[in-house]
């Protein structure tokens, strides 16, 4: 009686429960062997960049003098940027490409909205999945940073929260953007845009050193705020500006998710 009548009704009330069922669906999909390997190996890329640019090119750069006078190794400067970039890429590969495939090709969401799931809940469930995937990468990357003495355990904890925020912001943004995509070719523009962010968000050199126009543009883009927030944590240099960076990312997450929910409503229910 309880399981057949009452429990389903209770569950149906909670939008979080319904969103989580979308997340659970993706978790089941990782049993697909190829996909699981892809998901697990995703943490590798930022690690390779850290070794190549942080240590390899870092050997040519030598010690790095920050604007506030502190001297850190170039690897310690680059590492938090790689953490932020991997949160961005992880979130975008899930909510950008995979989301688009499910929306346009697999018609998965057409099936989902025929159940009690609403478009906004589908979007939220996908975002939670991207967040879960991103957090696994962040834990792995931060562990490596600790092992290489690029940060400490205590600073890694707030950095983990920070990278979750970066993942949420880019996940929501990616979903909103994906609903406007017409074909796979449009993703070429997305990869160019993310690559430009990857190179020019104060990642490899401080944004202060950029030419004035570029510096102003960069401070408006989301990855810059992610990099600055995480660098503040991992190098242990807190500042009031970090509150601003966090608010920017939170606002982006809310706006992105709202737009994505509305667009999905238009694409699937009308």
């Amino acid at each position: 009686m309880v399981t057949t009548l009452v429990a389903p009704r209770l569950m149906r009330r909670s939008f979080l429960y319904r969103a989580a069922s979308v997340t659970a669906r993706n978790l089941v999909a990782t049993r697909h062997s190829g996909y699981l390997l892809v998901v697990i190996s995703g943490f590798l890329e930022p690690v390779l960049y850290l070794f190549s640019i942080g240590f390899g090119v870092g050997a040519l750069v030598g010690d790095f003098h920050l604007a506030d006078g502190r001297v850190i190794s170039y690897a310690a400067f680059v590492a938090p940027a790689m953490l932020a970039a991997s949160a961005m890429n992880g979130a975008l590969s899930e909510t950008g490409y995979n989301f688009f495939a499910r929306l346009k090709w697999e018609k998965l969401y057409d099936a989902m909205v025929a159940t009690p799931l609403r478009p906004f809940e589908v979007a939220l469930g996908e975002l939670l999945w991207a967040l879960a995937r991103g957090l696994i990468y962040a834990v792995a990357f931060l562990s490596i940073m600790i092992a290489l003495d690029l940060t400490t355990v205590w600073w890694a904890l707030p950095a983990l929260v920070g990278s979750a925020l970066v993942g949420l912001a880019f996940g929501a943004l990616g979903m909103a953007v994906a609903t406007y995509m017409r074909s796979w070719q449009d993703f070429d523009y997305l990869s160019v845009a993310t690559f430009a962010l990857f190179l020019f968000s104060g990642t490899f050199t401080p944004a202060d050193a950029y030419p004035e126009v570029l510096r102003v543009v960069v401070t408006l883009t989301p990855l810059y705020h992610g990099v600055e927030l995480l660098r503040g944590f991992t190098t242990g240099a807190l500042s009031l500006a970090m509150v601003g960076h966090a608010l920017y990312l939170a606002a982006l997450a809310v706006v992105g998710l709202t737009v994505a929910g509305r667009r999905m409503d238009r694409l699937l229910c009308q």
Binding site: H32, G34, Y35, L37, V38, S41, G42, L44, E45, L48, Y49, F51, S52, I53, G56, V57, A59, L60, V61, G62, F64, Y74, Q185, D186, F187, D188, Y189, S191, V192, F195, A196, L199, F200, F204, T205, A209, Y210
Partner: protein, 257 residues
Amino acid sequence: MSTDVAPSPWPVFYHRWRLYLNTWRGTVFSSFLLPVMFLLGLGVSVGSYVDDSALGLPYAHFIAPGVLASTVFQVAISEAAWPVLAAFQWVRTYHAMRAAPLRPVDMVGGEILWIWLRAGTSAAGFLIVLALFGIVRSPVAVLAVPAALLLAAASCAPVLAYSASIRRDGWFALLFRFGVIPMTLFAGVFFPVEQLPLAARWLAYVSPLWHGVELSRAATLGLPTAIGWLGHAAYLVLWAGAGYLLAVHRFTRRLTD
């Protein structure tokens, strides 16, 4: 009854060209804008923190020919990956071609001809950009283009075989993560391989990219290469030849099911 078209790789090349007319816009970004961004974001920007005496030349000059080679490497591999799997698995173009008087050798040959066009134009375009930056200093810089074609053949041929052997595109993500990206990052593009620990250095030496980087650097900067340009070229020909034979074998297997 006679057929107008004798078996040849050109129809396959022409097919790719017609498809490209619909999708070329995005590739302009990926094959021209991306390397330029690398040059600015790493070469010029990080370069301002690098002591020139460490390398004997400005850092931007050091990485420019490397970025040229790695762009060609990535273009060649991308073109031999998704479109080829699509033509086997999703669109089944090759099955249609098989029903026409086209043989697997024509398909592999046609793909390589097409990839040469993409790689050659990418290399030539980037070379012009380098000349505008004042980075090309050697009169033999145009030789970077044939070097790029050699690198493209060496890197795309084995990937053609790989694409003909898989059924899901998730395998490409693994190819990039465990092959293409590590090679791009550690095969002498961004810093000299001599800095690597010995074991990792040998992995760089084995990869076709490092040999392509050496040839490209020799052409644009007029520097001597590690084992002489003939040695690097011969090694790339070896990769291309072995990859070609394997690709023809895999194409034949896949199409006789």
